[in-house]
Symmetry: C2
Subunit: 221 residues, 2 copies
DNA sequence: AAAATAATTTAGATATATCTAAAAATAAGT
DNA sequence: ACTTATTTTTAGATATATCTAAATTATTTT
């Protein structure tokens, strides 16, 4: 199955939006996600439907097919492997990699991506903690909870932060919180849902409830 | 200056064809190079001319401008740096890298390319021995001659082979001749212009005049 | 230098990806 | 259930990149 760059981006958007609800994905939601107009989405939907990567009935929203899901996962695999490369090998900060990875994910070469995977030591998650699907599209997710729901005196490893908000990523970078950081919740403040935490057994600071809700931790202890 | 992927490919083709002669580059030559039709080239030429990356008068062929040359050299820089990456880091054979590099060269990010350059140790030539332009488009070329013109008992380092012919590249790979190989011309055969050579002070073999003409060596001794 | 040949450009089509504005279908409010 | 509002689709345009066929310009041959 050969898809154009644009078709790949649509399919990826539809895959991501499918996670949010079991319902079909609406035309407007896709338009919003891709910063385009509903009319353009309608056109593309018909094309993708003809290629059997989505199911579609007029006015009923779309659902990704198994074939489409496989393709989307391979694009996501490439995106995340390139992100690991950029951060680990080229010393990018994890808040700088998204735009470049967005381009690199469309490079066509199965040899390239399997060699890259090997070169990086077969990583299982990208620098934001998102899991990297394998060649068959399988994902191994570890059990995780938002920091805000951790109780006092428990420890977790940062495994996921939203990669969509640069200002949050910059802030986390500033306080020294990264993927893999060991977080201990020392004290929870009832009044504003903030929490006193320690990062990597050294720095202690208060984290607002708003931020805590966005940090996913793998349960450690 | 922002160019589309297609515009970049046209400009690169025009740059390469400009080397061959001091004359302007003909429409047909560009069409041939890009496996397209003269009519399409005519259209694109007008576009590139409007963007001031080439000079053009109807029916008179095109000449690349200084601005165009700078852009072409940056694309070539990216192409060759990626080739080094593929061969040195991902263990590609040097006859496998062209198609992938052809895609990677269009990734837009100055940070990416300067970090990649640093990561690779600021290489001066790609795996085929072609020089890598610096950020300013400067090229440092070392003095070189085809193997066929070396006299008996002289030594040279393989610095360049045509990257356009996979069958030649595969053959060179098979006989163990690579970029950087130390070649000694032991004996020249007058009858067919072949030559007895040694590769890296070990393997000895006869090389046809046809192949010898295509191997560029830097003069060593 | 006129005729033949080759190269190049234009005119008109097609395919992709997008848009705005209008029409049609669905969902929501009373 | 009927009107209103929202969502989605269609119709018609625009821009890019391509093509074929015809017209035009340049070059070569005799």
């Amino acid at each position: 199955m050969k898809l154009s760059l644009t078709e790949e981006n649509y399919l990826k958007a539809i895959y991501h939006l499918s996670d949010d609800s079991a319902e079909g994905v609406s035309t407007n939601a896709i338009a919003e996600e891709l910063s385009t107009k509903a009319a353009s989405v309608s056109d593309m939907i018909r094309k993708l439907s003809k290629k059997k990567v989505i199911d579609y009935q007029k006015y009923k929203g779309v659902q990704i097919t198994e074939a489409g899901r496989k393709i989307a996962l391979q694009i996501i695999r490439k995106h995340r492997l390139w992100e690991v490369f950029l951060v680990e090998k080229l010393s990018f900060n994890w808040d700088e990699v998204h735009d470049v990875a967005e381009q690199l994910e469309h490079i066509k070469s199965t040899t390239l991506i399997s060699r890259l995977d090997e070169y990086l030591g077969f990583p299982t998650m990208d620098p934001h903690g998102d899991p990297i699907p394998d060649e068959n599209g399988e994902i191994k997710e570890s059990p995780q909870l938002p920091l805000s729901e951790f109780s006092e005196n428990t420890i977790g490893i940062v495994v996921k932060v939203p990669d969509s908000d640069p200002s949050l990523l910059r802030h986390l970078d500033k306080i020294g919180m990264k993927l893999g950081s060991r977080i201990r919740v020392i004290e929870k403040v009832e009044f504003d849902n903030s929490a006193l935490i320690s990062i990597d057994q050294s720095k202690e600071l208060y984290l607002s409830g708003e931020i805590a809700k966005n940090i996913m931790l793998a349960i450690k202890e």
